[in-house]
Amino acid sequence: MKIRSGFVSNSSSSSFILRDESVSVPIFRDSIKKIWNDLYLKGECDKENLDQVSIFYSISFYSVKSFQKSLIKGLYSNECWSASEKINHEYVSKYDPFFVKIKKFITNTFSKTYLQEALKADIFGTSQENEIPYEVLKALKEKYGSKLIIHHLG
């Protein structure tokens, strides 16, 4: 059975890139389950879908090194609408002062794309709408810091 636990929003599916050689897919999956369970016991998120993390395909984690890059590119075309999106892309407003516009232009020009980062990652994962609660995503980011990039999809 597939379960979607609530209403979707316009950016409620997520993708992950973890760059940490010491973390394997099972360890990463277990750390999500532990964070999720701890938050659930504290009453800070629902338990819905927790057991699916290691069972269902819809929350998927891949070891990039053992996974063919062409398949990752395929996953992007299927699931990650913004594969060509620049990481650290900064929105340039017409109200920005000129020097800020220049700074943002340089950042946007030289920032790497999400796909480039994924191909160099150790673990890559995707989840569909509302499958991993926001609280869990936040705690994951706190645990792994800059090694983990969480990208909200459409």
Binding site: M1, K2, I3, R4, S5, G6, F7, V8, S9, N10, S11, S12, E48, F56, Y57, S58, S82, E85, E90, Y91, S93, K94, E129, H152, L153, G154
Partner: protein, 154 residues
């Protein structure tokens, strides 16, 4: 395929694809031949992300994945929306729509579109900065939308 529906629930039954959708909570349970199966695919979409406005948005949030903020305000007409909606719901599988908007009143037909969804048994919701939510918009939202509004702001 048979579709059963009342004010609270929508259910689909067929040999290889089945679901129960709770209109109040957004919870969806989908299965295949048996409840242990995950259906490979749905006969038509269960959910729809639909951008009905883009371009000018008063908040211009830097993280907006649609990069809305500046430029002309582009709005989908009700006629185009109805055409898309009627085609996608022809098999009665669609459960909910996540509307992508800019400001609440950018698209003059926004609430008319959500009324059309509700009238046809599909639950709408939307993502907003919330800065231009007035009493009337809150009232209509509470009448028409699913369990929550997704606020995206900085």
């Amino acid at each position: 395929m048979k579709v059963y529906e009342n004010a609270d629930m929508k259910s689909v039954r067929s040999e290889k694809y089945n679901y129960d959708f709770n209109k109040e909570t957004g919870r969806l349970e989908a299965w295949g031949k048996t409840k242990n199966d995950i259906p490979d695919y749905a006969p038509s979409p269960e959910i729809l992300d639909l951008e009905i406005s883009s371009g000018k948005c008063s908040q211009a949030c830097t993280f907006c994945y649609k990069e809305n903020g500046s430029g002309p305000s582009l709005n989908m007409t009700f006629g185009m929306f109805k055409n898309i909606f009627d085609k996608i719901t022809s098999k009665k599988v669609l459960t909910q729509i996540a509307f992508g908007i800019t400001d609440i009143y950018s698209n003059p037909d926004f609430f008319k579109m959500m009324e059309y969804c509700r009238h046809n048994g599909v639950i709408p919701n939307y993502t907003t900065s919330g800065f231009d939510l007035d009493e009337e918009a809150v009232k209509k939202t509470s009448e028409l939308c699913g369990g929550s509004i997704c606020f995206g702001t900085q």
